[in-house]
Structures are given as C-alpha cells and as structure tokens.
C-alpha cells in the first residue's frame, strides 16, 4: 500500500459477506464486499491511489463501487485495474453514490481513486492536499 494508504482501515475484508441473490429462480450468487474507512486520497485530479485490497472477482459479472463519504467535498473518479493490467472505464461517484461496471471478466482487481476535479483540501498551504474517504466495493465470486 502507499504511505498514505497505510492509514486506511479495511473492514469487512474477505470475510466476505455471502449473500444469496435468489430472484426469479436464478442460481445463487455470492459476493465479497471490501470496505475502506478513512483511506487517504489526493484531492488532485490525476493523482491515483487504490482504496481496496485486491479482491478476486471470480465470475463474469458486475462490480459495484460506493463512495460513502469524504472529509472534503471530493467527488471520486474510480476505475478498476486487474492484476494483469486490464482496465475498466472510469466512473464518477460523489459521496452517497454507487457506480456499477457490468460484464467485468474474472480477475483480481484494485479499485483506483482520483478526484474527478482538483479540489483545494489544503487551505492556504501549497498543493491540493489529501482527504479521507470511505466506501466499499462488491465483487462476485
């Protein structure tokens, strides 16, 4: 993890929540949810940090990312990068919003964050500074 991200606390890691998504007779599907609390991320657009802990997405399906909060009004721009260098498109989530990628191939992913636009989180000090953000990602397996 990055120096800044070492401050983050990951809760609910792999102890993944098994849920049965039974609807219309569809087969049971389980998912793992990885949450991050107070992950320190940059307020500068174009500076990236990953915020999850490499959960495995083991079936072709959806990945959800939710930004719960940010201590400064930073709207997150998120994308997934697989362990083999494949990427999804970037999607934008303000606090309280969820973004979903459909048809994501099975692989191990990190969720990368950058600020959608640069925000001054640093007051009169130089640079945009950092903010603390919380959220979760949900992968199928």
């Amino acid at each position: 993890m990055t120096t800044t991200n070492t401050k983050r606390v990951v809760i609910g890691i792999a102890a993944a929540t098994f849920l049965l998504l039974v609807s219309n007779g569809a087969p049971a599907q389980a998912y793992a949810q990885d949450s991050w609390t107070n992950a320190q991320v940059s307020c500068s657009h174009g500076t990236y940090q990953y915020v999850d802990s490499s959960l495995q997405h083991l079936v072709f399906g959806d990945v959800w990312v939710h930004q719960t909060s940010a201590t400064n009004p930073v709207t997150g721009e998120y994308h997934l990068q697989s362990a083999q260098g494949n990427n999804t498109s970037a999607k934008v989530a303000a606090s309280g919003q969820t973004v979903i990628w459909s048809g994501v191939i099975a692989s191990t992913y990190k969720v990368w964050h950058t600020a959608q636009t640069s925000v001054n989180c640093n007051g009169s000090l130089p640079g945009d500074g950092n903010t603390l953000t919380s959220g979760w990602a949900r992968f199928d397996f």
């Binding site: 120096t3 940059s42 174009g46 500076t47 990068q81 362990a83």
Partner: protein, 186 residues
Amino acid sequence: MGDAAMTSRRKRISLIAGAAAVAVLATVGAINNQDVSAVPPSADSPLFEGLPKTTVVEVLENPKAQANVAIWPAEETTGRNALWQGMVINFTQCRQMLTVYLEWQATGVARELPPLELPANPAGDVVRDAKVVDTSYREVIASGDPAQVSKLLLAESGCGAWVPARAGDTQGLVVADVVAKAAANA
C-alpha cells in the same frame, strides 16, 4: 541590538523556518503518490525469467503498460513487479485465446489453450491471479460455445481491449478488433 529585540528576531526566524518546513512537507505529501521516477525493470531482469523474452520486451515498451504501472506508488515495488509479470502473461495468453477463437471459427474445433507460462521468480500474488484468469479461459473453451470466448475478448475489462493483435503493433488492431471482425463474418 537589545536582548528583547534579539529574542523577537529569533522568534520570527523560527516561525518563518517552521512555515517553510510545513509548506515543503505539504508539497511532498501531495505529490508522493505520483511516481514518475521509478525505473522500469530490464528485460534481462530475473523478474522475467521463465517468461517469453520477446513479449517481455514488447510489454516494457508498450505505452499503455507503462501507464498502468505509472499510477502505482514508487515504494510498492512488489505490486509494480507483479503487474509487469502479470501483463506479460496477459499479452501471451490474450493472443493465444485469439488464436483459439479464430481457429474455432474457421474449423469448428476448439483447440486447447497452451499451458500457462509463469515466471520463475513470481512477485506478490501473480501466480494466484494468473490462475484465476487461466481458469476462466479454459472454462469458456470447455463450454463448447465460441461466443463465450468472444465475450471475454470483447469485454471492456478484458485483454482484448488493449493487447495488440500483432506483437509490438501498438498502432494497429487490438485483439478485440480482430475478434469483432471475425464474429461479424461468421
């Protein structure tokens, strides 16, 4: 200059120095996740032992591969190295999957995917992660439905979206382009 004046001057100097130090630290803090200085490994590095040399060179020179690594913090050497290794495996398997798909379309027979080539000195979880993808590839081939293969190669999150169909041809077609054409002609 009297003692009082000296003390006042020292305080001002201390305050200015302190403010300057805070400013420097804040600046460094803001940029320390932007790594532009980490030197990519050499193709001759032990990191790539066991992987096909030509593909190693191709990946190291690929601008998108370089961009993938560039967002990683400089201090995360293991993560960076695992990604370099993972991308070499990815390029190799992606074109193998393309071959399987094209031959399947042409002959109606699904050829088995060659054995997964793994690095002799794996970084991080690269082997575990490569096996996740390898398993999914073999499962779609075993499905008996070539459309399952094309679905993976055409996916936005799949290798086909960025791996060149011809090795080293970063300006030409990517694997997904070739799959789309083949699917349209099927």
